[in-house]
Amino acid sequence: MTALFYVLLAIVIGIAIWQVTSILNLKSAIATEKDNNTQGILFALFGVFFYGLMIFSFWKYSVILLPDSASLEGEQYDTLYLITMLLILVVQAITQFLLFYFAFKYRGINGRKALFYADSHKLETIWTVVPAIVLAGLVLYGLTVWNDVMDSSDAENPLIIEVYAKQFQWEARYAGNDNELGLANVRNIKGINTMGVDMTDKNALDDVPTRELHLPKGRKVIFKFRSQDVLHSAYMPHFRAQMNCVPGMVTEFSFTPSMTTEEMRANEKTINKVEGINKIRAEKGEDPYVFDYLLLCNKICGASHYNMQMKIIVEEKAQFNTWLAGQKTMAQVVQ
């Protein structure tokens, strides 16, 4: 019934709006010279508002952006991003200015005749060729970065980790001493063997299952992603890394962590961001937040999609090795 009330309310408001303006609207339904003038000026003002909104957003919201990349590959990403963004902003600034300025400048005056100007091969060639050249540069640069990021074939002694997704939880499995993951399939899931590791495969025995990701700084990590139920996406925004987890296949992504968790906490941008967050948390009476890397799910996967996370800890190699050595292997866990 309340729903009906809201609908009726909207209808009444609509009719009221019409009634009010129909009293004011005795003149023509077509724009007059006066309308052209007013609306042209409004476009100029809107142009100012729009530039204001853009500048405000960049000024006010740059603090919430992700801090510097925490992986080597991500540094290339950030440079490419910066160049692309600058280009976008230049084009945006120029074209929007022209659009609103022309709307203002050429607002209609009775009796004036517009310029009959239907074509200019020269102009059109310019704005076909210039974007084509700029884009060619952007494509080449982008593809170089893409190939570098996606190609892990020449990595020396990479660390291999399986990241395993399910509704609504992440698990991980380190390849162990042999650095080779044992085979796995959902059909092997049983009891504590939640990732369906094939325990008859000798490579599987020394694999290390965990609920937390520890990564060594400076060593390439190759992630192998699996999912047991629906699509998930392993998103590690601080490392500029993302790959979908697809049931029935193994997907791959790799990067080299370049900043330990401690180093990232001491990063100036992180400090500013965390400060901002803690100010908000203090107002709400919540505990202060300490920065940690995270793995998030970034593909709609069900009701608790919004709360599917795993902590990532990047540490020095020695610390990492100590931690890994202290974990139980599959053989120890299952038996």
């Binding site: 517009a114 704005w127 884009l135």
Partner: protein, 608 residues
Amino acid sequence: MVSWSKNNGTSCSIILTTTLLKNYNMSDHHHKETFITKYVFSTDHKMISKQYLVTGIFMGIIGVFMSMLFRLQIAWPEHSFSIIEAFLGRHQDGGVMSPDIYLAIVTIHGTIMVFFVLTAGLSGTFSNLLIPLQIGARDMASGFLNMVSYWLFFLSSVIMVISLFVEAGPASAGWTIYPPLSALPQAIPGSGMGMTLWLVSMAIFIASSLLGALNYIVTVLNLRTVGMKMTRLPLTIWAFFITAIIGVVSFPVLLSAALLLIFDRSFGTSFYLSDIFIQGEVLHYQGGSPVLFEHLFWFLGHPEVYIVILPAMGIVSEIIACNSRKPIFGYRAMIGSIIAIAFLSTIVWGHHMFVSGMNPFLGSVFTFTTLLIAIPSAVKAFNWITTLWKGNLQMNPAMLFSIGFVSTFISGGLTGLVLGDSALDINVHDTYFVVAHFHLVMGVSAIYGMFAGVYHWFPKMFGRMMNKVLGYWHFWITVIAAYGVFFPMHFIGLAGLPRRYYSNTAFPLFDDVADVNIVITMFAILGGAAQIIFLANFFISIYKGKKAGQNPWKSNTLEWTTPIEHIHGNWPGEIPTVHRWAYDYSKPGHEEDFVCQTTPLKEGEEES
């Protein structure tokens, strides 16, 4: 009976005698029209276009209202709203929506807006209205198929609306309905009956869309009046024509994608499913791949965004030229870019799948084709801006929305350079950056195109004018709200916030985007409320609007040569003959600042 006495004394008016009309009526109208044949099962393209528009508007109300509801949830999670309590029934608890219904309304919002509003509502309305009128045809090639097309669309809308009332909730796997989530009711309740109805509705929708598109193509190719060469067609018609072709090429692929999904869901096949363990048991599926579905879906899904935007581009080109009192700049380049965009749109679908597990080399290819689209898009944007240059801009509401279109198309299009680049896509894929991008470039832009079209052709549809002042208010509140929503949204995406999160409270990392989300929601509510102005203006003007003149915008195109009162066959007497292109505005050597397409060339006059 001819009530179009006021013809502004324009060169476009045809001198018409009642005798001619009577003759025409006698030859073609021997049967009497009943209410049913005139308003319900009409085969007249003008009536069908109105049916599409009104149905589209109703679906739009549902779609936009849903966005208001989930914006409330995003800005103020855990806060109780009586409006949520009122509308979401058992899917809420004390005025807070459940996570499942949140995903469901996000899904249905997307589905309704993309397909029911911006495909059928926009293309269906204006292709139907304008194709016969602007090419000089009595009606569509097949009025009957056209009627069937509308009623299939109506049926699919009804089924989609019914699915909202299913016990477990409507489809909720996102508008892209990726399996396995969409295939397994164990994974999400909406994938039960709700998803079945979604698939049935979409299958019918596709049939409707195909019938419509085939009709448009045949009509444009075969029924143009004498002198209406392809190179004299208004850009609206070019846009509708090419849109219809993309629809015919890509919609059947969506149907096959949906069919295979229906097989997987109902008959136990494994096209998309493999190795699944859910709720404690292994399912029998083996050997399928969700990536196959993604390929099939986006083979339509990407062209679909151009199916949405091209008609808006055509409408905007026409309205900008008419209201600038200038020829559209670079007519042939505009046609060329429509064709180039259409062609490229069918070979870029992989840019939605850079991180899907697809081979990275394939990603490189799709990056290349995707960024190529920027070239024809840039040409179009520059041509629109140049059309304004040294014009004599008539600031009618349709013109305002057209200028707004160019602005949002540029703002949204530019961020495509980030998303279309496989490397850069990695970190913004599926974040709010994407949401901001596509809402600006195809959502808001296409809606502006639709509004522009409604304001411009309302007099042609209903013989009355919409209220100008309300139009201005509607426009200004809408543009401010739309940028207020979608500009800041880029930043929360760049902060790494994934889309489709019911709440961000599980991540202290995102505590600082909460304020931005509140700003966005406030603008969203403002923008949503502004649409009430439009609705009031639209529905009341049908009955109470000022009577329209013969050619209110002093336009060149043929639709303004037909009588104000709709008649079967559009023109009483002979179909007009066309002597020139549609853009002779302010042509030197003519007294008026417009020259109708039916005006013969003067002696020594060169055709532009």
